[in-house]
């Protein structure tokens, strides 16, 4: 059993500033945050699917709902969360296969994940929401 006194001396350093993380770490915590966000907003996706297949009236209600500026903002956030989670997830699948695990490549692919998901959010956001 570990000595309590020894255990106490271990340094504790929680740096909660996301921007101080190395880029792969930033991708990692954003993967978790976007995943949590997607889980919390599943009901929005189901509501929209439900309404758009139920009747003409409910389809129109849903269409009016997604036209509201606040709803658009939420959907834009949802779109980013999906795209980041998708891009980072593809990166993790490659890491699982031992591809791109060296430091330089891992750093480069982190930049690609962040940049591509942000760029796609802008392009798809404009195409789908405006």
């Amino acid at each position: 059993m570990p000595d309590a006194a020894v255990k106490k001396k271990r340094p504790v350093w929680y740096n909660l500033n996301l921007l101080d993380l190395p880029l792969p770490g930033l991708v990692s915590i954003l993967h978790r945050i976007s995943g949590a966000l997607l889980f919390l907003l599943i009901f929005v996706l189901l509501y929209l699917l439900d309404a758009s297949l139920a009747s003409q009236e409910r389809f129109d209600v849903a269409r009016a709902f997604v036209s509201h500026p606040l709803a658009k903002l939420v959907l834009l956030g949802l779109l980013w969360a999906f795209l980041h989670h998708l891009c980072a997830g593809i990166r993790y699948l490659f890491l699982d296969l031992d591809k791109g695990v060296d430091r330089e490549t891992a750093k480069k692919t982190s930049v690609v994940v962040i940049a591509v998901s942000l760029a796609l959010t802008v392009v798809l956001g404009i195409a789908l929401l405006w």
């Binding site: 889980f39 599943i42 009901f43 699917l49 439900d50 297949l53 389809f59």
Partner: protein, 115 residues
């Protein structure tokens, strides 16, 4: 006599693998949806209704939702294990998450197969 260990790496590995397999399935569905939106462009109620009238579209969508809920379960469980330390609270939250996901599954099936 039931001969199995209730602890061990095996259970974690199953979840880990399920998370990856469901991820790949959801990527495939995403590609399908992108293709549908590019080439079919269902813009109104009638078009949406017609699209989801196809059996393959219903089944593909249901498979997507089943993958999503299994995937979300592994991910949310990981998050709860990392941040919620009191066992009673964590168990309660896990039960809530499972109830939500199973209800979502029933809702999805209802949406897709309603007349």
């Amino acid at each position: 006599m039931v001969n199995r260990t209730v602890v061990g790496a095996h259970y974690g590995l199953t979840g880990w693998l399920a998370q990856r397999i469901t991820a790949v399935l959801m990527v495939l569905y995403t590609l399908l949806i992108v293709a549908v939106f590019l080439f079919v462009r269902p813009g109104d109620f009638t078009a949406c209704k017609a699209l989801f009238g196809y059996g393959w579209m219903r089944i593909a969508t249901l498979l997507f939702f089943v993958s999503l809920f299994a995937h979300a379960w592994v991910g949310v469980r990981d998050i709860l294990m990392d941040y919620i330390k009191p066992t009673g609270l964590r168990l309660s939250l896990e039960v809530l998450v499972i109830l939500a996901l199973v209800s979502y599954g029933a809702w999805a099936a209802h949406i897709l197969w309603r007349a």
